[in-house]
């Protein structure tokens, strides 16, 4: 009887895990295996392929590709840092200063923009920033510029868009981390002679570190893999690596090259997240649990 109960429990466990496993294996593992095989072959004649590292070599031979690659990585790091700087005061206000009703209102104010799809939000920025848009017209009206300036298609515009898109994903883990910080610790540090900066450095940041790192990982990955915002706000002046992948798959119909680029991007994000964890002295498990 006991054996029956145990096998029934095991069956139940498998049934509960089935959707997650199907999703993992069917939509993530299998396509990646297929893409890995694709990326490691080269076309020698119509419908004739042979194993080759050509796709990866092309990446290093063609400066445009790896320039875009490095640029995407650096811009993503800058965007993540800016998001952290902007989100921290917001999270601090919500977690430590606002009380009761004001607290939920502020949190809603952070959340509401995300009810609108990313496309619409990005198009909103275009209406504000394009040459015939609201902000350039305002600058002319105020006499700051002689004629409307094009504010779209700059790196700075791209950063604005990326930070805006990522804010919520940084604010939420930060609120979680700051909420658990006992106010008495801050008061005690203040009482013992600490000043604001010092308390931030010695008490608040060490306590919130898992939340900070979790937010940074999420924002960095979202930014690195973002396609819409760089395409719409960065235009042709501000290339993003995801655009290169898209071009290979869709425009050039060169799936082998696109797959290789995909794996390079995966390797890059893994490397940078690993380096970030090493630098901040956090463990991935802790970050995912507490963040």
């Amino acid at each position: 009887m006991a054996a029956d109960a145990r096998s029934a429990a095991r069956l139940g466990l498998w049934l509960l895990l089935a959707p997650a496993l199907l999703w993992l294996v069917g939509l993530i593992v299998l396509p990646h295996v297929d893409l890995a095989i694709l990326s490691l072959r080269a076309r020698v004649a119509p419908r004739v392929y042979e194993p080759s590292l050509k796709q990866y070599l092309t990446f290093f031979d063609e400066p445009l590709y790896w320039h875009t690659f490095v640029r995407t990585a650096l811009m993503s790091i800058v965007a993540t840092a800016l998001t952290l700087l902007l989100a921290f005061p917001v999270a601090w206000t919500i977690a430590k200063i606002a009380r009761g009703h004001a607290r939920s209102l502020l949190f809603m104010a952070c959340l509401i923009p995300f009810w609108v799809s990313e496309t619409v939000r990005t198009l909103g920025w275009m209406i504000l920033l394009r040459e015939s848009g609201v902000l350039p017209a305002l600058l002319v009206r105020l006499g700051l510029t002689a004629q409307p300036v094009e504010l779209l298609y700059h790196d700075a515009t791209l950063l604005v868009g990326l930070v805006y898109t990522s804010m919520l994903f940084m604010v939420v883990p930060l609120i979680g981390a700051l909420d658990t910080l006992d106010d008495a610790l801050i008061e005690a540090a203040y009482d013992l002679g600490g000043n604001g900066f010092d308390i931030l450095r010695r008490i608040v940041i060490p306590h919130a570190a898992p939340g900070i790192v979790a937010g940074c990982i999420v924002v960095f990955m979202l930014t690195l893999g973002n396609y819409l915002t760089p395409t719409l706000l960065g235009g042709k002046n501000s290339l993003w690596f995801t655009e290169q992948i898209y071009t290979q798959f869709i425009t050039r119909f060169n799936w082998e090259q696109g797959a290789a680029f995909g794996f390079l991007l995966l390797g890059l994000s893994t490397l940078i997240v690993w380096a970030g964890l090493k630098l901040s002295g956090q463990r991935f498990g802790d970050v995912m649990r507490r963040g």
Partner: protein, 378 residues
């Protein structure tokens, strides 16, 4: 704010007509008191009496609405908490979990910009004095409750403050450890000689630890005195009811005979008690009889002849070792009162329902004019 002329030179803390209100609620009502150098001063009161607000004003976390606080003779108006010669031991200690014991104790010294070597030396000395020599590299969560307490005190005392404020630091500990820490705290204060200001709602902590105790109620001090005086000479009914166990009887004064008042309670019990303050015949009064003041006997003849004798039936037995008592119902009026059992164990065989005689010395019971409709606990 000018210095009040009556302030004594030796006072480490002078509180001068300090008041604080939150919205319409008066938290602290124009309080003035001094704490002498090197003394252990407690503020005892029920929760919500304003003692935490008062302490936080001294620490600098809240600014008073009126009045002045002087520490070591210097006015603290506009001085931030991190610039006051005051340190605080928090209710839940607030040790920094992200730092080692040594870093916790050295935190304040590092903020003062002391060289690393000197910090290390001072931290070592301080940990040794509180009996935690060599604990520098331990993590905070490796310590026991009592050790954490000592680290919290060491962290403050290493800065050599004029005043150490303690916000019910024993509240979170279990009973056994609390008793132990009480003694330890008193010894630490004696060893360091620092002026301690301690707030608590636990009267036993206040009585055991303090040189002087202020009993606080509804934003005001009812009485500031030595623990002995508070216990034996309460000046207000609130103090009589709050400090130590007491039997309270509300009634009307029949006769005032010099120091003694004869009163009849609402239930018809006739009592005699010593008058505190002015009481005139016909006044509404409150009388307090401590459980240990009354004596019981199976045979009424055993009671002192000069004391009024009463009788009653045992309602319940409250055995608590040396603090054992019985709950009696007085035969005539049905009034309930608690009487301590002699520590000789003579009446250990008392049974519920048994009738006994009891009496007390009226000069050791207290009688106050009933307070005019002011809310009070007790």
């Amino acid at each position: 704010m000018t210095a009040s002329p009556g302030a004594s030179a030796a006072a480490d803390l002078e509180v001068d007509r300090v008041a604080k209100r939150f919205g319409g609620h008066v938290a602290v009502e124009a309080l003035s008191f001094d704490v002498a150098h090197g003394s252990f001063f407690s503020i005892l009161g029920p929760s919500g009496c304003g003692k935490t607000t008062l302490l936080r004003m001294i620490a600098g976390f809240i600014a008073p609405d009126a009045g002045d606080i002087r520490i070591g003779g210097r006015s603290m108006a506009g001085v931030a908490p991190n610039r006051r010669p005051v340190n605080m031991v928090f209710q839940h200690l607030a040790l920094f979990p992200m730092m080692s014991v040594g870093e916790n104790v050295g935190y304040g010294l590092a903020r003062r910009g002391l060289p690393r070597g000197e910090i290390g030396r001072k931290v070592g000395e301080m940990l040794e004095r509180v009996g935690l020599a060599g604990a520098q590299s331990k993590r905070v969560d490796q310590l026991s409750g009592g050790q954490k307490q000592r680290v919290a005190i060491a962290r403050s005392l290493v800065l050599e403050p004029t005043l150490l404020l303690l916000d019910e630091p024993l509240g979170a500990l279990d009973l056994k450890l609390r008793e132990h820490m009480k003694i330890e705290l008193k010894q630490l204060q004696a060893a360091f000689g620092t002026t301690f200001v301690y707030i608590t709602h636990d009267q036993s902590e206040a009585l055991v630890l303090s040189d002087r105790v202020a009993v606080m109620n509804a934003g005001r001090f009812e009485q500031v005195d030595t623990p002995q005086a508070l216990y034996y000479e309460p000046r207000t009914p609130f103090v009589a009811g709050f400090v130590g166990a007491n039997n309270r009887f509300a009634g009307r004064a029949d006769r005032v005979d010099g120091e003694l008042v004869a009163l009849t309670t609402a239930q018809g019990l006739v009592l005699h008690a010593r008058r505190i303050g002015t009481v005139t015949a016909g006044d509404a009064v409150e009388a307090y009889v401590r459980p240990e003041v009354a004596t019981i006997a199976r045979d009424a003849a055993e009671l002192p002849a000069d004391q009024p004798r009463l009788g009653g039936a045992v309602q319940s037995l409250l055995f608590d070792g040396a603090n054992s008592a019985v709950l009696l119902r007085e035969a005539g009026s049905g009034a309930e009162l608690r009487i301590a059992l002699p520590q000789t164990g003579r009446y250990a065989d008392l049974r519920v329902g048994e009738t006994v005689a009891f009496g007390f010395d009226p000069r050791r019971a207290t009688c106050f004019a009933a307070p005019a409709a002011r809310p009070h606990g007790g």
